[in-house]
Amino acid sequence: MIHIIAFYLFAVMTVGSGAITILSRNPVHSVLWLILAFFNAAGLMVLAGAEFIAMLLVIVYVGAVAVLFLFVVMMLDIDFAELRAGFVRYFPLGALVAVVLLAEMVLGIGAYHAGGIQLGTPSGTASTAAGVSNTAAIGALLYSRYLFLFEAAGIILLVAMIGAIVLTHRQRGDTRGQKISKQNARRPDEATVNVKPEVGKGVTL
């Protein structure tokens, strides 16, 4: 029973927050709803008995969004005082969301302990071996049966890296780098010195 309740809760929340992600006008709100959608999708994965994929969703996607946020905060001119101004007003709403997430986690873990739900009828090729945790099963497949594709995926990441460098890296003429050899070669007698001339005496250079 707890399965059914948890499944519908997570499914409705995923679809709902997915819809609000596209409909919301403020991109920052969209990102927050996206996190909620990922979180609930992770819950669905837990229900299906795929705890590894669930953790991956939370760590990779929610983590990536957090990093993205950091960039936004770093790059945009955001007035933090104004940001904090709404804190008290929105606190109850935020607390409610936190409680809902906590409740979902408890429900999800409860449902997970009650065993995986049956999703259709898996054929012989798709079912996992009994007695192997699915992290171990994925690892064993990834490095044996799917080795070729795993390596190819590595090349895709390399291509993405090359692409990012090609499109953004440039030599700028107006930067002044540190020249260590020049600094070391500097001698006191060539350098500018700070003197305190007395009035009417002049200085020797």
Binding site: R145, F148, L149, V159, I162, G163, V166, L167
Partner: protein
């Protein structure tokens, strides 16, 4: 499964990967000064890869001996045929590139390396025996292509082309992935033969949706109507050597993949996708022909021409027969040669200061100032229009012959009628070249390598090309036999 045999079968991919990685190191230390050297070595690597795949095509390799990594990868005659075209056109775009990019002081060492990685991805696409190979190959090609489209990053049009291609391409990939997950969900496997076996007893609605979504994603990659909107902008904005690349190798890879998916994975359910292919084939022919009429930029014109040709090639797929598939491969080969000739000629259109000329109006009277170049362009236009003495006619002929043999007379009739409309704008370009008052704009000198490539590709599409049709047809036949045997 035998690992050493699998590793032997992916020898071309290994060669290219190692070449790409080593050249990346050369680029890291040599900088952009080494880019000519890297280009030469990349061409050598691509030629070596072609030599490695050639025996499989000549021997007509097929069956279980050619499948590597549990059937995820097929190194049979079909993939060899496509890979020779892909690697060959990638090598040609590398030869075309240096003089173009040096004009903008943008020849960078990463260009040949990205082309190599894109070629690996395309090779994986045409060898795919599994949805995962399909997707990883496609993404490897696409990611490299997005960067190549925006390679002239200081040029607004190039950056726009890259961004448009990226945003729309990512959307298409998402739709494709959705279709793949539906297919996997309803068949329980990602492997093409197992999908085919699972669908043997009928097609669940979910799997039908999977086919439709996958077709949407793949139609985007080959720029078939109704997912062609990006093509003119990207072709116009991307640097011309990159446009040459887009018009050749990724098209071959996209068609190879489409044939693998539809004839292998969904081969038993051809009734489900045949009408979709018939529709997009006719829509591409008509939209390509009508859209090209108002164009003033020759690269945009070539983009519409490419949409139009994609339609003709799809006619071969719409027949669902082996003759149709063979016709597609023959047409693809001829189309690659026509595209190479056309874009090389466009690269040679320079004004006195060495700026590239793309306006059709400025080509007026080219026959009097640069008769050789005008002749080459006119040959390409006549060949694209499918006018008999040139080889473009043969491509259309084999495809429509297959359609008639498959009792699809209406399809053939509409296609031929639309190709007459298409002939209008090709002939308009010829008229500007030969009968208008000379505009005397195109006076710049051309690179010697461009001349060599133009001469050879024009010889191939000239009536001399008919000497090769028997050989080409026989090899295409071997390739499609292997394709149908991969099941």
């Amino acid at each position: 499964m035998d690992w050493s045999q699998s590793l032997r079968l992916i020898a071309p991919e290994e060669t290219l990967s190692i070449a790409g990685l080593v050249l990346l190191l050369v680029a890291a230390w040599g900088g952009d000064k080494a880019s000519r050297l890297i280009s030469i070595l990349s061409v050598a690597a691509l030629v070596a890869a072609m030599a490695l795949v050639a025996p499989a095509l000549c021997g007509g390799a097929m069956g279980p001996d050619t499948s590597a990594f549990f059937g995820q990868f097929h190194a049979d005659a079909f993939s060899s045929f496509a890979k020779i075209l892909i690697y060959g056109s990638a090598a040609i775009t590398l030869v075309l590139a240096p003089s173009y990019f040096e004009r903008f002081n943008s020849m960078r060492a990463e260009y040949p390396i990205l082309v190599i990685f894109a070629s690996i991805g395309m090779g994986m696409m045409v060898s795919a025996g599994d949805l995962l190979t399909l997707y990883i190959g496609l993404e490897m090609m696409s990611l490299a292509s997005y960067v190549l489209a925006a390679f002239l990053r200081n040029d607004g049009r190039s950056a726009e082309a890259g961004l448009k291609y990226f945003v729309l391409g990512a959307l298409a990939s998402g739709i494709l992935l959705f279709g793949m997950s539906l297919t996997y969900g309803f068949t329980g496997s990602t492997s093409f033969p197992l999908i085919n076996a699972a669908l043997a007893n009928g097609l669940p609605t979910g799997a039908l949706f999977g086919i439709v979504f996958m077709l949407i994603g793949l139609a985007f990659k080959i720029s078939a109507v109704p997912l062609h909107m990006w093509t003119p902008d990207v072709y116009e904005g991307a640097p011309t050597p990159v446009t040459t690349f887009f018009a050749t190798a990724p098209k071959v890879a996209g068609f190879g993949l489409l044939m693998r998916v539809l004839l292998d994975a969904f081969g038993g359910q051809s009734a489900a996708w045949q009408q979709i292919i018939v529709f997009i084939a006719l829509a591409s022919i008509v939209v390509g022909a009508l859209g090209a009429i108002g164009q003033t930029n020759i690269k945009r014109l070539m983009a519409y021409s490419s949409i139009n040709n994609v339609g003709f090639i799809l006619v071969g797929l719409a027949t669902t027969t082996q003759a149709g598939a063979t016709g597609m491969l023959v047409y693809l080969t001829i189309y690659v040669a026509m595209s190479v000739a056309g874009f090389t000629a466009i690269l040679m259109l320079k004004d006195a200061d060495g700026n590239y000329v793309e306006e059709i109006a400025k080509l007026a009277g080219l026959s009097r100032t640069r008769p050789g170049l005008a002749l080459a362009l006119a040959m390409v236009m006549f060949s694209l229009a499918g006018i008999p003495p040139l080889l473009g006619f043969w491509g259309k002929f084999v495809v429509f012959q297959a359609a008639v043999q498959a009792d699809m007379l209406a399809l053939a009739a509409i296609g031929i009628a639309a190709s007459v409309i298409g002939a209008f704008y090709y002939l308009k370009v010829v008229k500007v070249l030969y009968f208008d008052e000379p505009a005397d704009v195109v006076t710049g000198e051309s690179d010697v390598w461009h001349k060599i490539i133009l001469v050879f590709s024009c010889l191939f599409i000239s009536p001399f090309g008919y000497l090769l049709t028997g050989w080409l047809g026989a090899n295409a036949e071997k390739a499609t036999t292997a394709l149908l045997a991969a099941l």
